[in-house]
Amino acid sequence: MTTRIVEVRRGILKKNDEMAAALRGRFEAAGVLVVSLVSSPGAGKTEFLQKTLLALRAQGLRVAALVGDLETDNDARRLAEAGVPVKQILTHGRCHLEAEWIGDHLADWPLDALDILFIENIGNLVCPASYDLGEAVRVVMLSVTEGEDKPLKYPTIFNGSDLAIITKMDLAAAVEFDRAAAHAAIASVRPGMPVLECSAKRGTGMAEWLAWLTARQAGQRQPATPA
């Protein structure tokens, strides 16, 4: 027997990364802004997204959502109440979404008939960090009930996000939420990332979030500036 060393030097998740890059190209060509949402279980992603879909629809934007869950289509049914196209991606126990499943679930959706597509990832702040889904922006959510130091405990996902949203602000006083500590923790792991404070239930902060989204969406629509 002979022994040989084979040099490879490729990304372990090359297949996922290539699919994500192809999706990103399709999204950009169709002019749809794709926003993924990540958080712990119970941070309020679904409620927040439902209110967001309703508000955007009321503004005349064409929106849709893909929802990842380990089991049950409860979240997809809740979101569908907003009257927009929603599809559930069931992972059957797997802890994150992958680009391939996004592609599969979009096969029969006309992307150029959409302005914004949301992807609600599995409630998990660890595993989704490694998988590019082709999204234009990743939004990480943290609820006031979770502890201000959560960004320090899960720095990878916070570092890899574009916007942080602190949810359930209506409960902030009840849980003695320390705003300054939460903002400092986010800034420590991702300097310069914008942070919004929202309550989907009361509607506070939602106007800023919608303005942020529509500004990004308008930017996406803009044709590339000729050189």
Binding site: R4, V8, I12, K15, V126, C127, P155, V189
Partner: protein
């Protein structure tokens, strides 16, 4: 825990190449994992035997080169290594930086095969 999924991705990548070469057994695999890759090296090592069982990689030795995060400090105008992943500030001048130059990598570097001569 998605480290087992990562091991399966390693197995798929290595087996594809190893079979092309006509190798019958993989004896060693070398990976490079950045501190911001979202993968815990110890969990990878723990999952490795389970994930490689029944494949060409069964029984192979896994080596992981762990890479720290390097950020670019605009004030010092140089790349600096930070300790850990909780404080993205220049260790010299304390300027914050989100400009990551190293630490996100998750790479299959090389592997070692045995094949009939």
């Amino acid at each position: 825990m998605h480290e087992l999924s990562i091991v399966y991705s390693v197995v798929a990548a290595v087996e594809e190449r190893a079979r092309e070469m006509g190798a019958t057994k993989v004896t060693a695999v070398s990976l490079r994992i950045g501190a911001l890759a979202g993968v815990v090296p110890d969990a990878l090592r723990f999952s490795y035997d389970v994930g490689t069982a029944g494949t060409l990689l069964e029984g192979s030795a896994l080596s992981i080169e762990e890479r720290p995060v390097v950020i670019h400090c605009a004030r010092c105008d140089r790349d600096v290594t930070i300790e850990g992943i909780q404080r993205f500030r220049c260790p010299t001048c304390d300027t914050p930086s989100a400009d990551i130059r190293q630490g996100r990598e998750m790479e299959l570097v090389s592997f070692e095969v045995e094949s009939a001569p």
